[in-house]
């Protein structure tokens, strides 16, 4: 039995060596890490910012996490994040909760996003009005089939509209409800609720019967985006960065970053950089609208 002892001892030694290494490393952890969490709409542009900022300020690491605006706001309330991304404004009740925990959220508008309506490329529908969208998505709405829109969709023999929506902690979900259904009206049951902006576009791309809404930045060549009309006799405006900037597109919204308290040091520098021309050109590149005029040529 004595002979197995070295093996056992070596195993213990190996484990404790790892422990020492891990603890040694632990001591070096510094506050140069900025935690940035929230909106799935913003997550790809937040990632692009973080990637570019690693070049601009090599000493600062920006850790980006998605999960939805609700996730970011919850983390802000709990104080587990430095910067929360959100595609909707924080509610008063949420601000209260955060203040209660000693975190005064400070709001920054970092850009604008147009919510595009997506349909399958074979779908002949070229325009849709906000009222039609409300009748389709809203509680008590009466649109069920494509023929009610006056179109016949090739490849969709059932004629039934597959409604694609988002999970309820998504800022996109909340904003669509505000902008299209109105504050008081709820979504109708029976939609497919996807967990990411990209999932919506992916599903619509492969489903002739489907219609969905998602950020313009997630547009691909394999989906169609009908123009959106506000009211009966308004202009039908196509979603684009330009129409989001000039305000003519009816479902465009600001995108936010929140910090706990007035940002200082590395966080301040990062926010300033995001709001600078360099940061704003990155958001423009990703298909969102910058907050003001920038020259990105």
């Amino acid at each position: 039995m004595k002979t197995t002892k070295p093996a056992f001892v070596s195993c213990v030694l190996a484990l404790s060596a790892v422990l020492v290494v891990a603890c040694g490393g632990g001591g070096g952890s510094s506050r140069s890490l900025i935690q940035n969490k929230g909106s799935d709409t913003l997550v790809n542009v937040a990632q692009a910012w973080a990637e570019e900022y690693a070049v601009v300020a090599p000493g600062i690491a920006v850790a980006v996490t998605g999960g939805g605006s609700g996730t970011g706001i919850a983390a802000m309330i709990n104080g587990t994040v430095d910067i929360a991304n959100s595609s909707r404004k924080m509610k008063d009740s949420e601000l209260e909760l955060a203040r209660g925990n000693g975190n005064e959220p400070i709001e920054f508008v970092v850009g604008y996003d147009a919510l595009a309506v997506y349909v399958h490329p074979d779908n002949p529908m070229d325009e849709v009005s906000l009222d039609q969208l409300a009748a389709l998505y809203g509680e008590g709405g009466d649109i069920e089939s494509w023929s009610q829109y006056g179109v016949e969709v090739p490849g969709c023999s059932s004629d039934e509209i597959v409604r694609v929506s988002r999970q309820n902690n998504s800022g996109t979900y909340v904003y669509f409800r505000e902008a299209v259904l109105g504050d008081r009206r709820d979504f109708r049951l029976g939609s497919r609720d996807m967990h990411g902006s990209k999932d919506v576009v992916d599903l619509v791309e492969n489903t002739p019967c489907a219609i969905g809404y998602s950020g313009l930045a997630y547009a691909t060549d394999h989906v169609k985006m009908p123009c959106v009309r506000q009211g009966e006799d308004g202009d039908c405006v196509s979603p684009s960065v330009e129409t989001a900037i000039d305000g003519s597109y009816p479902i465009a919204r600001p995108l936010f970053m929140y910090t706990a308290g007035e940002p200082e040091g590395a966080i301040r520098d990062y926010i300033d950089w995001v709001l600078s021309d360099e940061g704003q050109c990155i958001i423009y590149d990703k298909g969102y609208a910058p907050r003001g005029d920038v020259d990105c040529s």
Binding site: M1, T4, K5, L15, N44, A63, V64, G196, K198, Y218
Partner: protein
């Protein structure tokens, strides 16, 4: 006189049929493994290169490598092991060597079984509440690894206890009769003989830990982090979450990349299993019984 009757022949036929049936069922087991590996190698193989393994992701994670995720997963696994193996082995030792068969012991056993049955997403929320918020570790490797450790503790305990119990009672009795205490018996006889089984538990834990996504999503893993973690209080990227992210969240990822990440992840687990199996074979070869 012993000529086969019709009954005998029928029995033999049925016997043969069942044998074949069971063989097929066993082969069906291999099928998914072979298919998964095959698909990953064929479709992910072209993505693998030194550059893929050892550089940072670039261009919105649609190009470049997976280094931060790879290093992050190693961090998570190692810290989880450090947290769970001592606790798990000690608990198993108590349950196997010391604990009398009373109500407390039965309650502990029940707790272990229940802990093993808790869904990983529940562990994730527990980790978020306990380690991230209550203990104020923040979203960090420490919080994520502790969550993983809690989740995999039952695996370590059960595997260790079972391997302790394969050591014959006669060994212990011989030892006790020589006047050795329980601890001396455990130290010199039981543990050395059970080490290969304990390693199995550890390996199972490594395999499970490195693939888990839900528990680390809320507690420590980042969507993107352009730096390698410096310590246990940093956030980190991880292979499993990276795979989820580039397959579902990032537009325009080249098709071979998610397959490449999956291939690296599964290779890591298989390599670790291989090393430990070799170690076990070596240890078992030295057994005198």
């Amino acid at each position: 006189m012993f000529e086969a009757t019709a009954q005998n022949r029928r029995n033999r036929k049925v016997e043969g049929l069942f044998r074949l049936l069971f063989l097929w069922m066993t082969c069906m087991l291999i099928l998914p493994v072979a298919l998964i590996l095959g698909v990953l190698i064929v479709r992910g193989g072209p993505a693998i290169s030194w550059e893929f393994l050892f550089t940072q992701p670039i261009n919105n994670m649609t190009a470049g490598g997976i280094l931060p995720a790879l290093v992050g997963t190693v961090w998570l696994v190692v810290v989880a092991l450090i947290a769970s193996v001592p606790v798990g082995v000690a608990a198993a030792l108590y349950l196997s060597e010391y604990a009398p068969d009373n109500r407390l012991t039965r309650a502990i056993n029940l707790a272990i079984i229940n802990l093993a049955g808790v869904p990983s997403i529940v562990h994730a929320l527990f980790g978020l509440g306990a380690f991230v918020i209550f203990f104020r570790f923040g979203t960090s490797i420490l919080a994520a690894s502790l969550t993983l450790a809690v989740m995999t503790l039952p695996v370590v305990i059960v595997a260790t206890r079972e391997s302790l119990q394969t050591v014959p009672l006669a060994f212990r009795e011989a030892c006790w009769n020589m006047g050795a205490t329980r601890w001396q018996t455990i130290r010199k006889i039981v543990l050395p003989n059970a080490i290969s089984g304990i390693l199995t538990g550890v390996i199972l834990e490594v395999s499970r830990t490195s693939g888990e996504t839900a528990p680390i999503m809320f507690t420590g893993a980042a969507f993107f982090l352009p730096f390698l973690p410096q310590g246990v209080l940093d956030q980190t990227m991880a292979m499993s979450l990276h795979l989820f992210v580039i397959s579902t969240q990032v537009p325009d990822v080249p098709e071979h990349m998610p397959f490449g990440v999956a291939l690296v992840l599964i290779s890591m687990v298989l390599a670790m299993n291989g090393i430990s199996i070799a170690f076990r074979v070596y240890l078992r070869g030295r057994k005198k019984w």
